[in-house]
Symmetry: C2
Subunit: 509 residues, 2 copies
Amino acid sequence: MHALKVTRAEDFPEWYQAIVREADLAELSPTRGCMIIKPWGYGIWERIQDEMDRRIKASGCENYYFPMMIPLSFIAKEAEHVEGFAKEMAVVTHHRLKAIDGVLKPDPEAELAEPLILRPTSETIIGDAFSRWVKSYRDLPLKLNQWANIVRWEMRTRMFLRTAEFLWQEGHTAHADEAGAVEETMRALEMYRSFAEEVLALPVIAGEKPEHERFPGAVSTFSIEAMMQDGKALQAGTSHNLGTHFAEAQNIRYQDSGGGISLAHTTSWGVSTRLIGGVIMTHGDDDGLRTPPAVAPHQVVIVPMVRGKPEDAQLIAYCDVLAQETASRQCFGSRVRVHVDKKDSRPADKRWDWVRRGAPIICEIGPRDMAADKVTFFRRDRLRVDGRPSAATLDQAEFVLGLDRLLPEIQNALFAEAKHRMESNIRGGFAAFSDLEDYFGEDQDSQFKGWARVHWSRPSGKALDEVEARLKALKLTIRNAPLQQPNTFGKCVFSGAPAVEEILVARAY
Amino acid sequence: MHALKVTRAEDFPEWYQAIVREADLAELSPTRGCMIIKPWGYGIWERIQDEMDRRIKASGCENYYFPMMIPLSFIAKEAEHVEGFAKEMAVVTHHRLKAIDGVLKPDPEAELAEPLILRPTSETIIGDAFSRWVKSYRDLPLKLNQWANIVRWEMRTRMFLRTAEFLWQEGHTAHADEAGAVEETMRALEMYRSFAEEVLALPVIAGEKPEHERFPGAVSTFSIEAMMQDGKALQAGTSHNLGTHFAEAQNIRYQDSGGGISLAHTTSWGVSTRLIGGVIMTHGDDDGLRTPPAVAPHQVVIVPMVRGKPEDAQLIAYCDVLAQETASRQCFGSRVRVHVDKKDSRPADKRWDWVRRGAPIICEIGPRDMAADKVTFFRRDRLRVDGRPSAATLDQAEFVLGLDRLLPEIQNALFAEAKHRMESNIRGGFAAFSDLEDYFGEDQDSQFKGWARVHWSRPSGKALDEVEARLKALKLTIRNAPLQQPNTFGKCVFSGAPAVEEILVARAY
């Protein structure tokens, strides 16, 4: 018996929907393809924002806010310069409603002269500003970031992973030369890698995307890829070196120190609420989410085991004092976040609510704890022993003083478990494409499959299209070429030619 | 000579545009009616968010995120129930672009079955969620908040004060009964009053809006009103008791403890980036902004007076140490925010940049300061003595140790100055409407006019329309009926009937 009605083994996609719902992270909204993010989910996002924002600012970026609505002409200009530009975008065409025959409709007399596009990303409108702001080499590097909502018209949506509207941060920078842009691209990638691993306890592989998976118009695109518990890969962050392509389209030029005019080199990089989907599919179990303490909205939840008796008031008072003591401790650079659940419902129901949400430490305080100055608590990361929830009891002072060790211990345990899973499920030794077919071709949906690490000759153009098609037949995609590469390479599994690179191949979200 | 090209006395609206530009707070964007918020402006907003969010959470609200796009049917339902519902809204009608004869256009085949409205406020979509979430009296009160971007199609825009897109927070709550909703409405109002006064140093008058200025569908609307330096009022925050009107339209019903079904009572309340406009027009002077220390992105700015000589490195090192010492101090509940300006430009230009932006304390550190372990600094709130910028010099240790007294002193000085101005410019003693005409009717645009405090009989319906029209002829509006009322009332200035209330009448933004 587990707290969720469906287990990962039974039906992973169903389990994902269940956990999003049962952990009260989000729900579908009446607006097609959009979700309502609820406090536990939004609280995780707030922690992500705080931690990421600090890192972004420490790198010398400043936060701006640009309009969400972008004139169509900006998009059209981009589309001219960039092949493969996606056209699924929400288009604003009217600025007024009018009751026509008693029905409220867009007012035909209030049609916009130029339609506006809801930002699918902001390179165009930020690039336009760069072209005005960048005059001289003294203005470079120009590094900015924006926290914003984004709209992309997705036909098949899945909460946190793919929705018509989502929240993200997008960094945009302009540099005097290629070296500056390359350095920034790699800095952002490393920021994402360390953030994912340290803050979200998500082990990831950082690497470069193959040519056909680049952001349209980019010289190179890098990603961090995380392994979900069904073996699929989740792209959890991207960083693009845009070279001078966007600067050309948008006329971002500067006077260099010698007086000549040069094109700037730009970059962009982003992570989104998709990260929360990654946290769920990495750390969730059949009882619900296990929220990494560094991003848990409440790190310690205290449930007073009230019984509807007069002593309850005293018990709640004891819990309040425990909460105060707990909040006076520091962990991960800020006060321990603690919550006393005083809601009007059964204590046992509350325990399971917090188990499903994945509060890292759940305390159940009864009269006996109070009498003995003790704290009984569950560690959510290892809730069950022999299948049954298993609590520990400590003296109050010992519990409180130990929190700054216990919370990082939980964080590290989640990371170690996920890292072990990822590392044991990246498989090498594929000599030819037929080996990939043997491994991924049979029982596609019933057996767990991790990632394949294969050597290839980095084909381009039509040869790459062919590779892509062959992989697609196995439902596989190329994730990235990891930054860490071996010293020597064997033969390309696709062509048999001498390989130049090792790439990760996987099923993916 | 002042740092801005135009003074308040010469042309207040022009001065406002100049300060927004010269303090680098924001600029107009290529999207009509929308602005780009730049780091100094956005940094103020980040401080507002932090401080307000803490207060909102302390009141028991939790943060959610709802879709920005709202189905037209939700708006239509609201429009049926609510008179005076504004219809200037951005309407999304298509979800794809297509190149037609070489021109990128909304794809006629991708027209939405139901248009989507960009949220002008979120009562409709949040109320719909309330109707699903509120089942029993145990679910009440339900208190939530959202930080979001908002779109209202404004024809005449002014940066921060009125733009097509702006940023805000909107609180939405549901309660079991009227008392709960009234209490929440007043709590939010008081939160806004104390926030404005304590954090933004904006003195305000809290009070109730007259009937015709209520939020459409509200039982009562309350506001805080701040006096700008041109005497006009700025509505700086609103709180609405929506009674059961929205619950009826949206079917928000709950089972009470006796088993009966009751309608919930709802409230909503919000403040926006408009507050930054209020800060500018309250604290700005002819040299630029004077940013209240509690919300200044940098509270202390250090300008090393480098001369392009080898000693510069040592000077910058001294400034870095000073910054470290400064950042180790606490003020307003967090570390002092300090910035060393190492930009490649003339030190004198940097000083004036920070004067225009209104950094509360601007240090100019030269070789002599370094040699004597001193700090030379300007207080931005009283920059000039006899018309000339006037600096003070202190021992480094004294300067650093005194910061937790000096920053609040600057904050308080700004508040005291604004409060004095507001209080000396609210004028009573208007016995009849002709007195108002005498005061406000002549030299309307050349002379400073504050607010009038007048007694009225609180007319309704057509009588109120008439009052509104008479005031409008003087370019006046009713701001609110202050919470603090006298014990007795004279005659209504509009009708001569016995008055029941005192109201504030003013020109307004």
